[in-house]
């Protein structure tokens, strides 16, 4: 489909204008931004040439610091310096196994906890947005203009609340998100394209605070995720913590202040990193009491005290294999992702489980951002060499509803390929029942209490009927970002009651709007100008896409249908020239509504073409 090579008659052709697209790996301990300029994806470093941004945000007296500047104060200003905020995304206080491990003043609030800082109470979404903003600014400096599209990665095992929180953070940071991409899938893309791989691969991704395992089948440019599993609260951080506990025990230390705990944690991390290349690491620190800590950690002891953590990653691997219907012998290669996979005991355990040494020919810190950049480049419409590939991902955890007796009924089972939509019918159990409560859940367990509650809503206005007569259709739809949308509809009597909810993660749309407003509070004009600029970008995209569609498929329209679309196009062009955002938005919406039937017919033609036209050769060849 040469969508963007068809220029509007009379307009200058702009086929080689590259849209500024970036891939962001928003990690627990550090984050990266990458892009495709010409050729392979590259990580964008800072002015000092450092590729990583520590995922640390400090609310300093003079303002917000991000990255290395914040890192310098993580021990001295621990309460206002937020590290590993990714672990808090979409989580309530009750979700944290050990809230005391964190030196923050937590404020519990429905859905997602908050942190009380010097700069006020902050949601993890706002903290993450500071990191994303820093990455966006780095990219804009390097690319010479505003970012037009971003792919942000999330752990494959992130649930709906965590995905929605990540999307909200990106919106707050002013990033136009093209797609949320699962981290192991991004890594597989970077690896597979580099090595022209075919066959079934496992991606073992042990990051700073999350663990994912994904099993993918690579066939002729299609990256099909067969299954995924993981632990959203297990990563390199936990190895540091294990070392710290060992120090406290060995040196018989009294209870630590938050600053001392942070200091020891940093020393633990340094020792962990040193043990990758050495047989022993000295741990030396001075506590605020003046007491000195001076111990030696050997590689063998480190392996011993972290054995259970490594074992904890192997269960999800076995589950993922079982869900994919495969045995270890089916796996052609194991790709390691995440800085924590540098630990020799991790590599050894993975190698033993799969019966083959893992593949080491890529940088485990950078591969996720690189894969995200490649996808961003493609989704933004930049065409490059051999870009005829496709990602087919899955939903990591089952989605369902609460039914009688506090049990869950699964509507979409885990590892269903996305996008997916599934409908299930329910009925009333009382005569004249006019409302039905719907409780949306995510998880594998049978009891409601053991699953994550994503949303509760009520379908009202059900016409009074005898018990069991009403038919309520509940539809679950998961889009290509892995984000859920639920609709309920009663249709027996033709009187339709419908409601659609985005499961909440503790931030209402109003709250997000307020945060966005606040971030522009100093310049109200900025906000207006930005809104107009965004609508204009939308308009240009709509005009280009509609023109291209007409050039290709105008024969699908009757004369008067074509005239209506032309009129709507002309109206967008007129509004595009003015300054009235509301008028432009209305014109865009009218064009969009006016082309809906056309879009459906074009999709249908695509379906027919896929099996009859130029692709048939490939189909037949594969059949052989």
């Amino acid at each position: 489909m040469a969508l963007f090579e068809i220029a509007e008659p009379g307009a200058a052709p702009l086929p080689h204008v590259r849209r500024r697209a970036i891939g962001i790996d928003l990690g627990t301990t550090h984050s990266l931004v990458a892009t495709v300029r010409n050729g392979p994806a590259v990580v964008l470093p800072d002015a000092e040439g450092r590729p990583l941004v520590p995922s640390i945000v400090r609310y300093a007296p003079a303002g917000v610091e991000v990255g290395y500047a914040a890192m310098a104060h993580q021990a001295t200003d621990a309460g206002n310096t937020i590290v590993s905020v990714k672990r808090l995304m979409g989580r309530g206080l009750a979700d944290l196994a050990d809230a005391r491990r964190f030196p923050y003043r937590f404020v519990d609030s429905p859905g997602m906890l908050r942190i009380d800082t010097r700069a006020g109470v902050k949601s993890p979404v706002e903290v993450s947005a500071e990191i994303l903003r820093a990455l966006r600014e780095r990219a804009e400096l390097a690319l010479g203009g505003p970012v037009e599209g971003a792919v942000v990665t999330v752990p494959a095992y992130f649930d709906d609340a965590q995905r929605q929180a990540t999307k909200a953070a990106a919106a707050l940071a002013g990033l136009p998100v093209l797609r949320l991409l699962n981290e192991p899938t991004a890594a597989a893309l970077a690896y597979g394209l580099d090595n022209a791989s075919e066959g079934v691969y496992a991606v073992y991704d042990l990051g700073g605070g999350t663990f994912d395992i994904s099993i993918l089948r690579l066939t002729r440019g299609v990256f099909e995720v067969l299954s995924t599993n993981g632990d959203p609260a297990l990563g390199g951080d936990d190895f540091d913590h294990r070392v710290m506990c060992w120090i406290i025990e060995t040196a018989a230390l009294p209870p630590l202040t938050p600053a001392d705990a942070r200091r020891l944690l940093i020393a633990s991390r340094e020792a962990k990193e040193m043990l990758t290349g050495h047989d022993a690491a000295p741990i030396v620190a001075t506590l605020s009491s003046g007491d000195a800590v001076n111990v030696m950690l050997t590689k063998d002891l480190f392996t011993e005290i972290t054995r259970t953590l490594v074992q904890k990653t192997l269960q999800p691997v076995r589950r993922a294999l079982r869900d994919a219907g495969l045995v270890v012998g089916d796996i052609k290669g194991v790709v390691l992702v995440g800085g924590a996979t540098r630990m020799p005991q991790v590599r050894r355990a993975v190698g033993e489980l799969f019966g083959q040494p893992p593949l080491l020919n890529l940088n485990p810190d950078e591969v996720v951002a690189l894969g995200a950049a490649v996808q961003a480049n493609k989704l933004a419409g930049n065409r490059d060499r051999d870009d005829d590939w496709l990602l087919l991902d899955v939903v990591p955890l089952s989605l369902g509803l609460e039914t009688m007796g506090g049990l869950t009924e699964k509507i979409i089972p885990r590892n269903s390929t996305i996008p997916v939509a599934r409908m299930q019918e329910f009925t009333t159990f009382k005569d004249g029942q006019s409302a039905m409560a719907i409780h949306v859940l995510q998880g594998e367990r049978e009891k409601v209490a053991d699953c994550r509650s994503l949303a509760r809503f009520e379908l009202r206005g059900i016409p009074p009927l005898t018990a069991g007569a009403a038919r309520i259709a509940v539809t679950f739809a998961v889009d290509a970002d892995g984000v859920l949308d639920v609709t309920a509809r009663e249709s027996t009597t033709g009187v339709e009651a419908a409601v659609t909810v985005k499961p909440s993660f503790g931030l209402s749309d109003g709250e997000i709007a307020r945060m966005l407003r606040d971030s522009f509070a100093h310049a109200a004009d900025d906000m207006t100008a930005r809104a107009l600029a965004e609508a204009q970008v939308d308009a240009d995209r709509m005009l280009a896409a509609t023109d291209a569609a007409l050039a290709q498929d105008a024969d699908l329209l009757h004369g008067d249908e074509r005239a209506a679309i032309d009129a709507a196009l002309a109206d967008v062009r007129i509004a595009r020239g003015g300054e009235d955002r509301a008028r432009l938005a209305a014109a865009i919406e009218a064009l969009n509504r006016g082309t809906e039937a056309f879009a459906g017919r074009r999709m249908d033609r695509g379906v027919a073409r896929a099996l009859t036209g130029r692709r048939l050769d490939a189909v037949l060849e594969e059949r052989r």
Partner: protein, 180 residues
């Protein structure tokens, strides 16, 4: 609007039969997603993107249905106007049920004894019985027989799919440490 009247076999350009060429199904699936997946329409209008989302979800659903022999058989019967879903009618032949009950009891004992090989052999049994049913179904559904005759074996096959899932879940528990 996408043509939702096309049945799943037509969608993948496959003959309307129970016995299918799975390689052809997979290749057609990849070709279709290559055309309709939302990633292919990221530069389109919101209407294009919505159409892509719907079409891609439909292709996924159709693929899921045809890939599994039990759901493929149920779907074929539904095209003949026969509801073979076990949820709507749980009655099954007595000898079949007796065999399954015995197997389930044996599996529960094996799980309690943490006897993984016994569970594995029970699973192999279920798979063998499933394959036998699939051959019978191919003869019934793809031959000249009345499709209604396939209703009971289809429901038996669905029962076996659930039994295999239950056995796999028991095995999964054995994988995990006793204290975990």
């Amino acid at each position: 609007m996408l043509d939702f009247n096309r049945n799943h076999f037509e969608l993948f350009a496959l003959p309307l039969r129970f016995a299918i060429d799975t390689h052809a199904l997979e290749a057609a699936y990849r070709a279709l997603q290559g055309e309709v997946h939302p990633d292919r329409h990221a530069g389109g209008t919101p209407a294009d993107q919505r159409a892509a989302l719907q079409a891609s979800a439909l292709v996924n659903e159709a693929y899921r249905t045809l890939r599994s022999p039990a759901s493929r058989a149920e779907y074929l019967l539904s095209l003949h106007g026969i509801d073979a879903r076990i949820e709507t009618d749980t009655a099954l032949p007595l000898d079949f049920l007796e065999r399954q009950l015995e197997r389930r009891e044996a599996a529960a004992d094996a799980a309690a004894a943490r006897d993984a090989p016994a569970l594995e052999s029970a699973l192999a049994d279920v798979r063998a019985e499933s394959r036998a049913l699939e051959s019978r179904l191919a003869a019934l559904l793809d031959g000249a027989a009345d499709p209604a005759l396939a209703r009971t074996p289809v429901r038996e096959l669905r029962f076996l799919v659930k039994a295999a899932e239950d056995l796999a879940a028991l095995e999964a528990v054995l994988d995990e440490p006793v204290d975990g």
